[in-house]
Symmetry: D3
Subunit: 135 residues, 6 copies
């Protein structure tokens, strides 16, 4: 679902991403666009399950200045995911493995890395490198 | 409907937004994109009623360098709108009320506010604040 | 001079470009930026002669929500310009020649081309091509 | 100060804005740019007091993949600010008044409005409108 | 098909455009977006023939960090194209003519112009102008 | 140095980045901006050594439609760099170590990784992970 917003300030739009994620959106993001009359506007895109369309549309109508939204039904391919934990010099970090048609790839979980980076006062890159060294 | 344009200058693209709105598009806007070979290009998106597809496609083919457009049929939800006029210290301003499933919200009409801001030499924010104080 | 604006809607920001150009700015443009708290904000940049700094700063403070602007003094190189008129199948069009250190280049004037494109119902590209054929 | 970052993921860049603000930056924001080899990169800009240059440069070098930053000294004009509290139907909200050369403008404080919007389950626009009606 | 990528650096994303075009995509481009947690992310969009969906999805899963892609079937209008060669002062350049419903437009082929510009040490604009003068 | 370009197509602008880097620029990149009259334009920024200013300005004037550029002198902090080679399962890869005020960080060289990824038909992420495992 998408809405073009040209009559609301960034300050009041900012909290919408968190709010939509909390209320069950699969993803929500902004794209900078350029509308008529020199307006540097914003497209709000929300990905959601079909059964949430009515509820999240009402939320957007209530919480933003938008008075119209466009939507369509999309398909998607998603890799199968599994999780495990690895021990690193910055503590235990959860790691995600994704598989699809024989392709397999592994990546550290962001929230665990952020906590470790803050605790050990190192950069996120340091934590990611430590995870890769522990795989 | 959307077209990616990488062989036309901004100067010649700029007038397309006004032209498309005059010819009946519901909305028309640019998104900055990055295409192959380091090209900082532009996606032109046009929202329109289905019966205008053929006519507006021909207009885009005639007036831009594009030789292909992509399209799809979208659904939309639109809030019901009604209008009234409020008296402010900057004169009479039209105000729009939008309703949907028990949600109700009110906003000043941009063009009336712009005229008042120019006439009284104040900022648009001053006019919007005056409207909110008069509701 | 530049200001980051995160508390004003695109609708009310849009008219600032024309207003600043009318009031003597050399150039004025928006850049999409991303500020704290997920805000999809806008940087307004204004290029001007040094003697206009105080006057245009006051205009920005009056007409936008910004309460602070940053500025610096830039140098510039500008090509020397001269103008002439060429006869095309879409009428007479002004053409600009720019020179610098032995480099010379020629381009049609946008406003003349736009008028001709509207009068003859052709695209701007058609007019530009006609000008190049008449050089 | 500015750095162009083309070898760090958005996930690891995101926390830098909060971190820089916590450590004393006056402002920090991202601009989407397009670098060589088709890279959709990010410019990180940080505004700071001159005495923080060395300390915040070290923080950026430690916490991002950047190995070079560019800087310059800018001047700025800032409007004088004062604060007061207004009673609204959504509780007491702090309001900022900014003055400069006879220009005066008033705006609600974002954090107070966000708290009220969450408490009363209304949109930020509703709270802002209530503040304007109470001025 | 589209994927939002927030955990891969621009440096490693850049080569995907060329790779996708080599492997048969009709078009591939990046759009800067702003995702949750202050992430300045990238949407990768790929246009392709329906029969390539499975193959190119596997390529994206293998070569990027993405673990999910969204897709839909679009229709398109394409102008009929024909080619010819024109003699210019910078050598022979291929020229494309596109037709649709009585609209006809002509443009030089980029690769030919780039080769001529490099060979004659002139700007691409010089070559384009020479082509228009030879039509 | 920066130039705002609103009268040149992305197709003809794209090759400028490579050209500027070949001719000695330290960095060159595009930023999407929004200029007057609804133009979705491009700012070209070039970082260079002071002694190259005149030469690269002439190159920009010759090769783009721009007739004016703005410039300023910036300072910079750069981390000290050293290189070594590490053996990985995808062959030998050059690795860069950067140091500044006690901060030290290591990253693989992009061009080596790209060659290895192509040779072994794996993703760039796979090569980067292999490098981190070999450190
Ligand atoms: Ni509106
Ligand atoms: Ni319903
Ligand atoms: Ni082309
Ligand atoms: Ni037809
Ligand atoms: Ni604020
Ligand atoms: Ni003053
Ligand atoms: Ni690099
Ligand atoms: Ni993630
Ligand atoms: Ni899109
Ligand atoms: Ni399959
Ligand atoms: Ni011009
Ligand atoms: Ni000189």
């Amino acid at each position: 679902m998408a809405a073009n917003i040209d009559d609301q300030s960034p300050e009041t739009l900012g909290p919408m991403i968190d709010l939509l994620m909390e209320k069950g959106a699969l993803d929500a993001y902004f794209t900078p666009i350029q509308m008529k009359k020199n307006r540097p506007a914003i497209e709000l895109t929300v990905l959601m399950a079909p059964q949430d369309l009515d509820r999240l549309t009402a939320l957007i109508f209530k919480m933003t200045t938008t008075i119209g939204v466009w939507f369509q039904f999309l398909d998607r391919f998603v890799m199968a995911r599994s999780f495990r934990r690895v021990m690193t010099k910055y503590g235990v970090i959860k790691v995600k493995t994704a598989k699809f048609h024989g392709i397999e790839k592994t990546s550290p979980e962001f929230e665990d890395c952020l906590k470790a980076a803050r605790k050990y006062q190192v950069s996120l890159q340091d934590v990611y490198q430590a995870v890769y060294q522990s795989l």
